[in-house]
Chain length 196, copies 2
């Protein structure tokens, strides 16, 4: 209907969010317009601010508002260790463990030839440059343990090993707190092979 | 981190969307900033346009950009029949059937005392005014068949019947195309009672 043009446009725009279909988009638009117009305006401003201010760290590729992100600038971090992760969320998960004090390189994606995502898209040349700076002693591959994450780790490992760098991968094994009876066979098999 | 302030603000703003938790909000923010900045700007503009232009139809309460919505203005619609629905989405569902040519009153919600939603919030006085205009011959209650929808229908029916208006309710029964074996007992019981 022509008298709800801006509403229809809003529903279409909401559908560009990942995981949002036409019904969710309608529900979101209805909620914002009926119950939370203040939230709608806040969201509009936040989107504009983020688009204009967020860019990629010149060193590690993660989101930042400066030239270089806070983690890369922090002098207390161990520059000899570089963890390679897929996304800022993965980086945050590693940070929450408190077990890693090195630096990061964030791929902002993963290799996925079927979706047209190649080495250039995950900043492979930048990663190689960063890893070969003479300070980095060990590159820890912390991509996800999915098919695409494993492929990405494999390709990066090959490229870095060819340049004589030490490359490690997060250990595969039985998750903390789990009972063997309920752990999938692939995980137990890996834990057996990688036993120590 | 202070260097991702606008990103954090965006994640918080996205969480105000219904059904979006912190993980979904992070995924959405990541997607927009990494893969679809154009979509983010489009969404920001759409939100602002919708908030500034969408208001409620003076007659039926649905969303419209004019004073009165297109359905209420349409002279081909039968003004003697008034369907009461909860949301514009429910109205759209009725419209898609092509089986109703009357007019609508959209409650933009449902009675829900626990959430503090009373008769005033669903425009009860406006509905009574509209239904008592002398033109409306029949009010068809098409609220949802949920506990809250049924309560809403009951309260509206009482208020309108007290004013001598004809009030009907959508029929309850076995959905088209279904096999009795797989229909829930409450539905079959209703279909038995309402047999014709």
């Amino acid at each position: 209907m022509s008298d709800t043009h801006s509403l229809d446009t809003l529903v279409q725009a909401l559908r560009r969010l990942p995981g949002v279909g036409v019904r969710s988009a309608q529900r979101m638009a209805f909620h914002l317009l009926q119950h939370d117009r203040e939230g709608a305006q806040l969201l509009a401003r936040s989107l504009q601010d983020a688009v204009s201010q967020v860019r990629h760290c010149a060193l590690c590729h993660t989101f930042t508002e400066g030239e270089v992100c806070a983690t890369c600038q922090d002098p207390r971090r161990d520059a000899s260790k570089l963890a390679v992760v897929e996304t800022p969320a993965d980086q945050a998960a590693l940070e929450r463990t408190g077990a890693f004090k090195g630096r990061y390189f964030v791929l902002m994606g993963k290799l996925s030839p079927l979706d047209g995502v190649g080495p250039r898209d995950i900043g492979m040349h930048k990663l190689i440059e960063r890893a070969s700076d003479g300070t980095v002693q060990e590159v820890i591959l912390a991509t996800n343990f999915t098919a695409e994450g494993e492929t990405t780790a494999h390709v990066i490992a090959q490229a870095l090993k060819n340049r004589g760098l030490t490359v490690t991968r997060l250990a595969r094994g039985v998750p903390a707190g789990s009972e063997l009876e309920y752990v999938d066979l692939g995980t137990i098999a890996h834990a057996l092979v990688d036993r120590r």
